[in-house]
């Protein structure tokens, strides 16, 4: 026992010596500000969510949890064992997958509409169903595309691959607005396939959970695709060749060699999609009024802030459940690699894989598939764009006429104008914070690998991608309502803080990759000629990673602009200080016109900005990568 305690003391002493050696006052202050910011605006708020789910003024209670788990609205499912096959029966599922309505047009034509509404399993299971379905569909779609682009050679492949990444340039909230216009009964799809081409004898309208799943899949599949593509093209071609030489071919090769090697990347991507789908609030909001709103995120949002200025414990409990699900998924797999990759928006590896040429017949098949996917994947974006510029858009495939009036109307609306300014200012300030904190964190993680426990910092600053935004929003309200930072006094502090902690991974990852590409010997040689670490940081390191800082800052800025969860919640509490995303939400449901055109105009602006910033950031990084070669 004694020697063991001594060993511990020894170890502690060594760790302290190491710490003293690695960390100077400057590094300590960097570490301190990062930890302080995360503690204040992420960890403590999330802790409050946990605490307040169980504690009321009356002390510890499980009432709220019990209520949520037994209430028919949240969890109506009851399972019984039966004596007949399949020995199990379930009650409580409401609705049906679809129903059919027929009506007669004034012309006498009979029109059949199939409404795909989906079932309603209650809030808790609905969220899981949506997240699971989106993850599975995104994986199938993303992996298939990645496989096609990685393994086959055909004209236009590279261009098509880049086009298929377009959904990354948008968010579900904006995409949902665009897609909604496309999939209603007199929407573009029905007009095209039913009225004009007449290839389908009925109309289809998708609402409810299926609509949410469709939007999310079309926005998120590129995440799996990126992961899978990277994995597939970085496979050592000789492995596959070896297998072929040993007689494996076709499907067998795929099943025994290709798939297992690509699995970790794909799995990680699928899990990230699961979490992003689970925490998505934008899409349910757009499809408000259908079963789509019976998901965790929307229910929390709807309950979080009562007009009396109170936060319902029900909302807190729901937020806790959401948090627990994401945490379990995250921990269960522990592959946060894909979070990093997502935050980088990388374009894949550098190997030149061997691609197979296809027979003409197969090329046609491949084209049909790829174009079909791209058709649907670009629908949300085309939809937003058309809506934004449409004057009148009835039951025709394209708007009857175009106008800038939607933009003019937005800019004439004083509240909308202010929301744009608010978004720009908050995101701008948050970006300054993200750059300071993000560069600090990335520097510590990349350059202080010897400091015991530094991996935890890496995890901490990457984690926000996997933490549901609405849970953070709930926590921030719980923690700061009634303090000087209260959103009822000013929306700015919490929004800036929330943007900062939630979108910082984009800056961290970009800066981190810059640091990893910069030889550590460049810092060390500066030390040897007499520069302190602080001085080296500012005169050597920062100039060398300036482009990564800029690119990372741009990504963080643009994702702050399109942040939904905190924005809408805070905006609801304080209209004057609300950001753009709240104004879009407000226009969707409380606007005078009530139409989609004006929110779409705002969405279009966001999408445009996002496009410019993301493409710009990627161009910057690519240029830098080549500029460094040969030094």
């Amino acid at each position: 026992m004694g020697s063991r305690a001594e060993g511990l003391e020894e170890r502690l002493k060594r760790s302290l010596r190491r710490l003293k050696w690695e960390m100077d006052p400057f590094s300590w202050s960097q570490l301190f500000i990062v930890l302080a910011a995360f503690a204040a605006f992420m960890l403590i708020p999330l802790g409050m969510v946990i605490v307040r789910s169980f504690y009321t003024s009356g002390g510890f209670t499980l009432d709220s949890l019990k209520l949520v788990l037994t209430d028919d609205y949240y969890f109506p499912l009851r399972v019984h064992l039966t004596s007949d096959f399949p020995f199990i029966s379930m009650e409580g599922v409401r609705g049906s997958l679809y129903h059919v309505v027929e009506y007669t047009r004034p012309t006498g034509e009979v029109v059949k509409i199939i409404y795909i509404t989906g079932w309603d399993f209650g809030v808790l299971v609905n969220s899981l169903v949506v997240a699971t379905s989106t993850a599975i569909l995104s994986t199938v779609l993303g992996f298939t595309l990645a496989f096609i682009f990685a393994k086959y050679k055909f004209p236009g492949a590279e261009a098509l691959r880049i086009i298929s990444l377009i959904p990354l340039l948008s968010t579900p909230f904006v995409g949902a607005i665009g897609l909604k216009r496309m999939i209603v009964s007199d929407g573009v799809l029905n007009v095209l396939f039913h009225d004009i081409l007449r290839v389908i004898p009925f109309k289809v309208e998708i609402t409810g959970l299926p609509a949410v799943i469709m939007v999310q899949t079309l926005i998120f599949y590129p995440i799996v695709m990126l992961n899978a593509y990277t994995a597939l093209i970085s496979l050592d071609p000789s492995l596959e060749e070896q297998a072929i030489n040993m007689g494996a071919s076709g499907f067998r090769l795929f099943r025994t060699i290709t798939l297992p090697l690509a699995t970790p990347g794909v799995e990680a991507g699928a899990l990230l999609v699961f979490i992003l789908a689970l925490e998505d609030l934008g899409t349910p909001i757009v499809f408000k009024g259908t079963v789509a709103e019976k998901v965790l995120t929307f229910q929390i949002f709807n309950r979080i802030f009562t007009p009396a200025g109170l936060i319902s414990q029900e909302a807190t409990t729901l937020a806790l459940i959401l948090l627990v699900i994401s945490a379990v998924v995250f921990v269960a797999v522990r592959r946060y690699v894909s979070l990093r990759r997502y935050a980088m928006l990388g374009k894949g590896g550098i190997w030149r894989p061997r691609r197979r040429r296809l027979s003409n017949k197969t090329v046609v098949l491949v084209y049909v598939f790829v174009f079909a996917v791209l058709f649907f994947a670009t629908l949300p974006h085309i939809g937003v764009t058309l809506l934004a510029f449409s004057k009148e858009w009835g039951t025709t495939i394209l708007p009857e006429s175009y106008t800038l009036n939607n933009f003019k109307a937005v800019l004439a609306d004083e509240q909308a104008r202010r929301s744009i300014v608010n978004s720009l200012v908050y995101s701008g300030i948050a970006t300054v914070f993200m750059v300071i904190l993000g560069v600090s964190a990335a520097y510590l993680v990349s350059r202080k690998k010897g400091v015991p426990g530094i991996e935890a910092l890496d995890l901490l600053v990457t984690l926000p991608i996997a933490v549901p935004g609405i849970a953070v929003a709930t926590g921030l309200f719980l923690t700061y309502l009634g303090t000087p930072l209260s959103p009822t006094i000013s929306g700015a502090p919490l929004l800036i803080a929330s943007y900062t902690v939630r979108k910082i991974p984009f800056t961290v990852r970009s800066v981190f990759s810059g640091l990893e590409q910069t030889d550590k010997a460049l810092d060390e040689v500066a030390w040897t000629v007499g520069a302190s670490r602080t001085r080296t940081f500012f005169t050597i390191i920062l100039p060398l990673i300036a482009l990564n800082v800029l690119a990372g800052g741009m990504l963080s800025f643009i994702y702050s602009m399109s942040e939904v969860s905190t924005g809408i919640v805070v905006g609801d509490a304080n209209h004057r200080d609300a950001p753009m995303t709240w104004k879009m939400y407000d226009m969707l449901f409380h606007g005078l016109a009530g139409g989609l055109a004006q929110p779409a105009a705002m969405g279009f602006m966001l999408m445009g900005l996002q496009f410019v910033f993301i493409v710009g950031a990627n161009l910057l990084l690519r240029k830098r990568a080549t500029a460094l070669i040969g030094v």
Binding site: W21, D24, D519, W527, T528, V529, L544
Partner: protein, 356 residues
Amino acid sequence: MVKIRTVDLTKRFGEVVAVDHVSLEIQHGEFFTLLGPSGCGKTTFLRCIAGLELPDEGKVYFDDQEVTEVPPHKRDTGMVFQNYALWPHMNVFDNIAYGLKIRGYKKEEIRKRVMEVLKLVKLEGMENRTPHQLSGGQQQRVALARAIVINPKVLLFDEPLSNLDAKLRIEMRAELKRLQRELGITTLYVTHDQEEAMSISDRIAVMNQGRVMQIGTPQEIYKHPKNEFVARFIGQGTFLYGEVVAKDGERLKVRLEAIEKEVLAVPSHPEANPDVGDRVLVMVRPESFELAPETRDSNEFEVEVYHVSFLGNSLRVQARAGDAPFVIEVDPDEEVPVGKSIKVYASPELTLAIRL
């Protein structure tokens, strides 16, 4: 100019002991080289001296001052890295001037000093180029200039020539030596190239697996290797195992294992003097052999030649006696028939016995 001293310096990376209780002294103005195979801990040792690694145990002294935990920027060393580590965002002038700026010199003084040192490393007129506009050799000189311009107490080199082509390497070697002699700065140099180490160093420490195997002048470690590792690592030789059967002062009689024979030998290194009954390695350097015209009473070997190569100033003969390979260097004018047996002789003074 300082004297560098380490006491039991030890550095571990997890399970690997990169530097294992190394104690040595580098004198004022000495050109001291660490030589050893890849992965033996040379770089790690150098980095401990520079302050880039924190040793797990042991101490480092500059003169009488302990610097073990002094951060690198307070050590006053100049270091040249294997890949030169020039800052790509600065031109040649700024790269060199950086250390002077930090020391707060006036602009004029900086200019003067940088120009001087540029002349010293023969890079006049290149001050406005950026690093990637320079050849490997030129980059190497900039890195050197940057290290010496601050007039450091210690110069540290980590395989600075290994990225250059063979011809340039030999040129730069001479130049480095000239500069070091002119400046008189205590220098620690790391290389795995024994020829380089031999030609440039005042003293060499041969390292293996984190430990120092022998320290000495190039002549000493070549002529008097202390152990089998050094004997085999430095230069060429003929190696025969055997047992000491008799000892008469400095003279040993060794019974060989591979050949039925007893030879006379001397201890290779005074600190490793074998006793009767000890197992030893007998080593003869190639040039210590001579072709034996008249019969001698001992140390004569009959070997079968299987390869002869002409090296310009000598002939290298590869031969065999039983299973034991012989490497012999003789005068280039000699005629040595391939496939025939010849007799060679190594005088007892040049037949070295190394205690195992």
